[in-house]
Each structure stands twice: as structure tokens, then as C-alpha cells.
């Protein structure tokens, strides 16, 4: 194994591979920093070009894009209140308030360092436990995934501000939109045009839901730019000093560990992971300002948690061929395009390949940290771009980005409709973050409940013969009760996310 790891580093550190990974990191950052363009779109468009490369280089390029894009989605979330990827939706909760106070650069730097810590944790997991865990994941069936998704849904109660009823209304709308398209039985629901058969595409909906309300707000309030406050001139040294680490190290570690587990779990992924780690940090943190008003621990938790769940998602992908997200679908595709079948034999027959990828993950992470820290300075300045330039650029790029996901014009329309819905909800004081959570978790929840009923015969058989499922369900009830009680104790503001 040590031999394989050394060999892996030798291969992944070849000049060509390092250059490709650096290119991937830059592409990931550029795509995810522009609202509307996503890492998934970049990966989809680059996959055909990777056909001519060796398998190792192609996969290293793709994971570099993916990992960097999940982090860089935090940049527009912080600066513009528009998450560049769905995983950054938790980042904006505290990241954007920080930017509004003139601390955009601090928030961005914190997010890149968090992402780095999370990614390294994921890379360690890949390197040392991937083959072991692959066999365990097989036994996480529909009952477990259902219970887990219910746990994710209970987060809605605690993470969002504003009245509880409004958050629940938002999540219900998300759950409903998630039912459009094929039902688990194969029946087509609410399909008013065949374009809706496979449901409302998540990424175009995300683009619209967050981009348009923000742009419309700029027009409505005649704001000359997003952030009014001039960034402070004194040098911000947060996380460059030992005392910051003494205070926050546990948050990094906790979020990284939770994130890695979320990445391995089928049906979770970076988005759910970042919400869970954010919620955990919020639960234990009593410092000022409160979460939701610009607490740096919120940014640490969400970004560490998101990136810890990125590369660890390769564990089920490589060992079982099971993709956890669009991005892993593309990575599996890159493997099969080069004649490598993901699955149990991948580790046996192509060990050199696998270990080159796994060690390459470390190299890609370091490149991301270096390039990200360098980029943090000037990406923070995005918030100062005048509205009259920002508006046309972001609108056009967002809509082209919505098209680029599936090369489908209908998705562009979906983005605009989602945007109008988001604007309407936000002007009623309803946050759209729970809607996103409902839209992601709804189909997982329903499909796995339906499947569990068919496999185990009844809901009780499904729960009581599956201890892990039962544990997660109890956990969700507990978390719900806890959140409801603590909501009663703390006066909750009426701010809108």
C-alpha cells in the first residue's frame, strides 16, 4: 500500500497532471464564481475534450474542477447572496451578512481554508478507508436513506430565521416541485409538457431561485451596487494568526468529520452535508453575533462540511459504481469512457490508476488552497461592481448557464420562472433556502420510503428490522424537538435570508 501511494504521488505530480489540475482549479473557480455557471456545467462540457487524454489526467482534471467549484460557489454566495453551487446555500446564511459589513475578504478566505481542511479530510478517507467502506455502503438501503433524508429535512426548522410557518411553507413548495415528473412508480405526475417528465432540473432552478431575486432587489431599491459598505482598509489577518485557530479548530475538525461521512452516505452529498455541519456549529456556538447575522463559524462549518463531502463521494462511485450526484455521474463516465469499469474490480485490476487519483486529490487540494487564497483578494471586489454592469452580465451569463446544464432551452424558462417565484416569496418574507432543501430531499424521501415499503412490506418492518434507519429517525425526532424548544427560548428575528 505504501508502495502504491508513493507510486501514486509520483504519477500525479507529473508536470502534465499538475498543470491540468491547476487548470481545473481555475476553471472550477471561474465557473462557480459566476452566478449561473456551475462546476457541473463545466465538467459536462469538458468531458468530451477529456476523451483524448489518458484516463488518469482526465479524472484528475475533473476532480480538480469539481472540488474547486464546490468551494468557489461560496464566493458569489458571500459577495452577492447568490450561491454558485447548491452546496453554497448554507454559506450565504452567514457569509453574505459578513460581506454586507465589509468583511467579504475575510469570509472568502475562511471559506477557502475551510474547504481545504474538508477536502484534505476527504482525501485521507479516500486513501485509507475507501475499499473497506465500499462494502458497508451496499447495506445502506432505502430504509436508511429515507430515515437519513428525514433527518435532513428537520434541519429546516433550526437553520432558517423568520417565522417557523414561513420556513415550512417554503419547504413544502420545494417538496411539491420535487414531485413533478416521474413518480417512483414510473407514473408521470404534473407533467403539463413532456419537458417536465424527468422533473424540474435542479441546477437551472437553483440559478433562477437565487439570482433573480437578488438582481430584482438591486433594481427595486435602486442600489448602485450590492455591498454599500466600503471594505475596511486595515489588513484582515483572520486565520493567519494562531489564536484564531485555537478558537476555531474544533469547528473545522467536527465539520470535516461529519462531512466525510455525509459524502460516503448515498443520498447525501455536499449540499446536505453543509447544512448539517452548519446546524451543528449553530447548535453549540453561543458567540456573538448570532448565526445568520455574520458569524464566521457559520462559514467555517458550511464550507468545511461541503468540501469534506465532495471527494469522499468518490468512495461509493469507485467501489460500487453508484453516483451520488451529477458530478460523480460525470466522473464515472470519464472512467468508463477510458475503458475502466467502476466497481469492486477497479481496485484490484487498476490499483495504480486508483492510487494516482487518490494521491492526486491531495495535490489538487493544495493547488486549490494556493489559487483560492490568491483569488480571495480580488473576488471580494465583485461586490463593488456597479449595478449597471453587473445586471446585464449576470442576467445573460446566468441564463446561458441554465442552458448549458442540459443544452435545453426549456431550462432557461425554468430559471426565469424559479426566479419570479423566489422574488415573490422573498418579498413576502419567506426564505428560499428551505425550498432548495425540500427540492433536493423531497424526491429522495419519497422514492426511498416507497421502495422501503415494497422491499420490507410495511413501514414498521422497514424501521424495526433496520437499526441504522431507526437510529436516524429517532435522531430526526430529537433534533426537531430540540430545535422547537430552542426556538421558543430565543426570540427569532424577522430578517429574510
Amino acid at each position: 500500500m505504501a508502495h502504491l501511494i508513493l507510486q501514486g504521488f509520483a504519477a500525479s505530480l507529473s508536470p502534465v497532471n499538475v498543470a491540468l489540475m491547476a487548470l481545473g482549479v481555475v476553471i472550477g473557480i471561474v465557473f462557480a464564481s459566476l452566478p449561473g455557471l456551475t462546476g457541473a456545467a463545466a465538467m459536462t462540457m469538458l468531458l468530451p475534450l477529456s476523451y483524448g487524454m489518458p484516463a488518469v489526467s482526465a479524472v484528475l482534471l475533473l476532480i480538480a474542477i469539481w472540488n474547486a467549484a464546490v468551494w468557489a460557489g461560496a464566493v458569489p454566495a458571500i459577495v452577492m447572496n447568490i450561491p454558485g453551487t447548491s452546496a453554497a446555500a448554507a454559506t450565504l446564511l452567514d457569509g453574505h451578512p459578513l460581506a454586507m459589513k465589509g468583511h467579504a475578504q475575510r469570509a472568502i478566505r475562511t471559506s477557502i481554508i475551510g474547504a481545504f481542511v474538508g477536502s484534505i479530510a476527504a482525501a485521507i478517507a479516500l486513501l485509507f478507508v475507501a475499499p473497506l467502506i465500499g462494502n458497508v455502503v451496499i447495506y445502506l438501503g432505502p430504509a436508511e436513506i429515507f430515515a437519513f433524508a428525514s433527518f435532513g429535512l428537520t434541519l429546516v426548522v433550526s437553520i432558517t430565521r423568520g417565522t417557523l410557518a414561513k420556513s415550512i411553507i417554503s419547504v413544502l413548495i420545494g417538496l411539491f416541485v420535487g414531485t413533478i415528473g416521474f413518480a417512483p412508480s414510473g407514473f408521470a405526475r404534473f407533467v403539463f409538457t413532456p419537458n417536465l417528465l424527468s422533473g424540474v432540473a435542479l441546477i437551472p432552478a437553483l440559478i433562477g431561485l437565487f439570482t433573480f431575486p437578488e438582481l430584482i432587489n438591486l433594481i427595486h431599491h435602486r442600489r448602485p451596487r450590492i455591498v454599500q459598505v466600503e471594505p475596511s482598509n486595515e489588513r484582515d489577518l483572520f486565520l493567519f494568526r494562531a489564536q484564531d485557530w485555537a478558537r476555531h479548530w474544533f469547528n473545522f475538525v467536527r465539520s470535516a468529520v461529519i462531512g466525510v461521512f455525509m459524502g460516503i452516505h448515498p443520498g447525501a452529498g455536499p449540499t446536505i452535508s453543509s447544512f448539517i455541519t452548519y446546524n451543528e456549529a449553530r447548535r453549540v456556538n453561543k458567540s456573538d453575533p448570532p448565526f445568520g447575522e455574520g458569524n464566521i463559524d457559520g462559514v467555517i462549518a458550511s464550507d468545511t462540511g461541503a468540501n469534506a463531502a465532495v471527494l469522499s463521494g468518490l468512495i461509493p462511485a469507485f467501489t460500487l459504481g453508484i453516483p451520488g450526484s451529477v458530478d460523480t455521474v460525470i466522473i464515472i463516465a470519464a472512467l468508463t469512457l477510458h475503458g475502466l469499469q467502476p466497481g469492486p474490480t477497479l481496485f484490484l485490476q487498476h490499483a495504480a490508476f486508483v492510487y494516482t487519483i487518490f494521491t492526486g486529490a491531495f495535490v489538487a487540494n493544495i493547488l486549490m488552497l494556493v489559487i483560492g487564497l490568491f483569488a480571495a483578494r480580488w473576488t471580494a471586489k465583485l461586490a463593488l461592481v456597479p449595478t449597471r454592469f453587473l445586471l446585464p452580465i449576470v442576467t445573460v451569463v446566468a441564463l446561458v448557464g441554465a442552458f448549458a446544464v442540459n443544452n435545453n432551452w426549456f431550462d432557461v424558462l425554468i430559471a426565469l420562472l424559479a426566479g419570479l417565484l423566489g422574488y415573490g416569496l422573498r418579498s413576502m418574507g419567506i426564505s428560499t433556502v428551505p425550498l432548495l432543501l425540500g427540492l433536493i430531499l423531497g424526491p429522495i424521501l419519497e422514492t426511498n420510503l416507497y421502495q422501503a415499503l415494497q422491499v420490507y412490506g410495511s413501514i414498521w418492518a422497514a424501521i424495526f428490522t433496520r437499526p441504522i434507519a431507526l437510529a436516524f429517525l429517532l435522531l430526526s425526532v430529537g433534533s426537531l424537538v430540540h430545535a422547537l424548544i430552542s426556538r421558543r427560548h430565543h426570540k427569532v428575528g424577522t430578517d429574510v435570508v
Binding site: 468531458l47 417512483p184 424527468s198 460500487l320 453508484i322 475503458g339 474490480t345
Partner: protein, 330 residues
């Protein structure tokens, strides 16, 4: 209203003018067949990048490019099973510069889903380039060593066996339904799978009794000794798994595989079709294509235009009959 009407006339007049300008610019010699192709050709794949159909198209594109001497670009337009991309392709300009990569999705969707604007008649078929057999797979821990044992158990215990189902009727599940029907078996259907790999995982974990997969999906697990194949839906045994008998050999006339090939919108002129027919036939002979296909685990199974057309229409009819028997036809 009048204004709008006038605007309409103006627009079409402008169009007519533009069209006549274009016509004037073209060489007037229309007696000989126009030269084709002179600019890049786009092949629409109605599935996501990296899917099975996309992989085949991308393996074929460079070879076609050598034959046609213009760039051949693959565009994926996924969505709604394969309906979005197929609709776009069937509706595109029939000038030979937008082609389509066809697979069984085009003959199944028109039977099942409402509002599908295409059918097999929406395309002209250049030819089939590959055929991918499907398999019925069980976990190695399963008590069923042969298809016969599975059928015998299933007949004795109706609804005891759990069969997987993926929404949108991929060809693997059409095979499963056909098999259940021919063998007079009743299964408990476990639906909500996202595709072949998820079905296989569920079978390995013992949550379902078996799964329906294509070659690529089972390859790794068969070699690792986790999965046993009981039958293949190909008309003959697959060269990849020569010891797996076909359904036909075991007494069930199930032959549902994934054919893939090149097609063009129905109104494409004959001189274009002639060029494409020749290019695909030549590409099929190329050793480089064989190598490209082997890399992604498929074989070159070329059929010419009339053969492909005949096959597609006959499968269109037989699938329609199956869906009607199953009660899922719209």
C-alpha cells in the same frame, strides 16, 4: 390588431427578401446533387454526457469525421427520458447538418408518454452501429443458479420474487417485463431505481431478487465474483460472456437489447442520405472504430439503412403490443 397584422406581413416580406438574397448568392446549378458536407455536422444525443449512448456516439464521431472530411460534433440534449433531445432532433432543419443518434427510446416513448411529438417515422435511418445485449443478473448468494430454477420458484410462489423497475422504461426493464409476461410470472415490483447500477446494487444486497442490466453495468461485478448472470436477451450468446445462454435458448422468446445508430430528420434529401450511408458503412469497417468500441465494452454490429429501418419498425410494433398487454400504453 391591424398593426400586429401589418408587422407580420412586414416580417415575412423581410424574410422573403432575405431568402431571395440567399438564393441569389447560391450557385444556380441545381441539376447536379449539391456538394455535401461542406461544414461541421452536429449529432444530437438525447442523453446526458457520459451515458451509454453518448459514449458510443463519441467513439464513432472521430471515425465519421475521417470519412466525411468535416468536423463531427456530438451535442447532448438530455431530459425527460430521451424525449427532449429527440424532439429537438426531429424538429431540426433536414439539411444533413443536424443528425441524431438513435436508440430504443425513440420507439418506446411514443407508446407510453402523452404529448410526444415524434415517432419512428420522424427519422430516416442511416444504419445501426452497435447492439448491446441485456442480462438478468442475480447475486452470487442467490439460491437461483439457473433461469429454470428461478422460473420454477416464481411460478410456485407468485409475488414472492422482487423485481426492480426504473421509471421511463429503459430497455433493460422492457426486457424484464417481456420475460415476466412470457414466463407467466408475477413479481412484486420494487420501483424508484435510478438505473441499472442501482438495480444491481440492490440485488447484490439482497433487497431485490435479481436485476436487469447491460454488459457494462455487470462486467466488474461478474469478474469480482459478486454477480451471476442467468440469461441474455441478445439473439445469440454474447462474445463477452460466451457461457451465458440466451433467453431464447431457455425457452422464452425475449430479445430486447439496446441498438444504437445514426439517423437524420425524416425530410433529409436522398443525396445527403447516400453520402451518410456510405460514410457509416465505411466507418463500420474501420479497425479504429473496433478499438474505440472495445474500450467502452461494446462491439461493432453494423446494419445498413433498409435493415435498420425494418428492425426499428418491427420492434416499434412488438413493444407497442407489449405495453398494451401490460396496460401502460397511453
Amino acid at each position: 390588431m391591424a398593426r400586429k397584422f401589418r408587422g407580420g406581413v412586414g416580417a415575412s416580406a423581410a424574410l422573403g427578401f432575405a431568402a431571395s438574397m440567399v438564393l441569389m448568392a447560391l450557385p444556380t446549378a441545381s441539376a447536379a446533387a449539391p456538394k455535401y458536407p461542406t461544414r461541421p455536422i452536429e449529432i444530437i444525443v438525447p442523453y446526458a454526457a457520459g451515458g451509454g449512448v453518448d459514449q458510443t456516439a463519441r467513439a464513432l464521431a472521430p471515425i465519421l469525421q475521417q470519412e466525411l472530411k468535416v468536423p463531427v460534433i456530438v451535442s447532448d440534449i438530455p431530459g425527460a427520458g430521451s424525449i427532449t433531445g429527440t424532439s429537438v432532433a426531429s424538429d431540426s432543419v433536414a439539411d444533413g447538418y443536424t443528425l441524431f443518434f438513435d436508440s430504443p427510446g425513440i420507439i418506446d416513448a411514443p407508446w407510453i408518454e402523452r404529448g410526444v411529438p415524434f415517432g419512428p417515422q420522424s427519422f430516416k435511418y442511416v444504419g445501426q452501429i452497435t447492439y448491446i445485449p441485456n442480462y438478468l443478473a442475480v447475486s452470487v448468494t442467490s439460491p437461483f443458479k439457473t433461469l429454470k430454477q428461478l422460473v420454477a420458484y416464481g411460478r410456485k410462489h407468485p409475488n414472492k420474487l422482487k423485481a426492480p423497475f426504473t421509471a421511463g422504461w429503459p430497455s433493460t426493464d422492457v426486457m424484464g417485463a417481456e420475460f415476466a409476461f412470457d414466463a407467466h410470472l408475477k413479481f412484486t415490483t420494487v420501483s424508484g431505481f435510478t438505473g441499472g447500477p442501482a438495480e444491481l446494487l440492490s440485488a447484490i444486497a439482497g433487497r431485490t431478487s435479481f436485476s436487469y442490466n447491460n454488459t457494462g453495468e455487470v462486467l466488474s461485478d461478474v469478474r469480482a465474483g459478486k454477480v451471476r448472470l442467468l440469461a441474455t436477451s441478445a439473439p445469440t450468446r454474447s462474445p463477452v460472456f460466451p457461457n451465458i445462454p440466451t433467453f431464447e435458448q431457455q425457452g422464452f422468446p425475449v430479445a430486447v437489447g439496446v441498438w444504437q445508430g445514426l439517423a437524420a430528420p425524416a425530410k433529409t434529401p436522398q443525396y445527403v442520405m447516400n453520402v451518410l450511408d456510405k460514410a457509416l458503412a465505411e466507418a463500420a469497417k474501420s479497425p479504429e472504430l473496433k478499438k474505440n468500441f472495445a474500450k467502452i465494452g461494446i462491439t461493432v454490429d453494423y446494419l445498413n439503412s433498409p435493415e435498420t429501418t425494418k428492425l426499428i419498425y418491427s420492434e416499434y410494433k412488438s413493444d407497442g403490443a407489449l405495453f398494451k398487454k401490460l396496460g401502460v400504453a397511453k
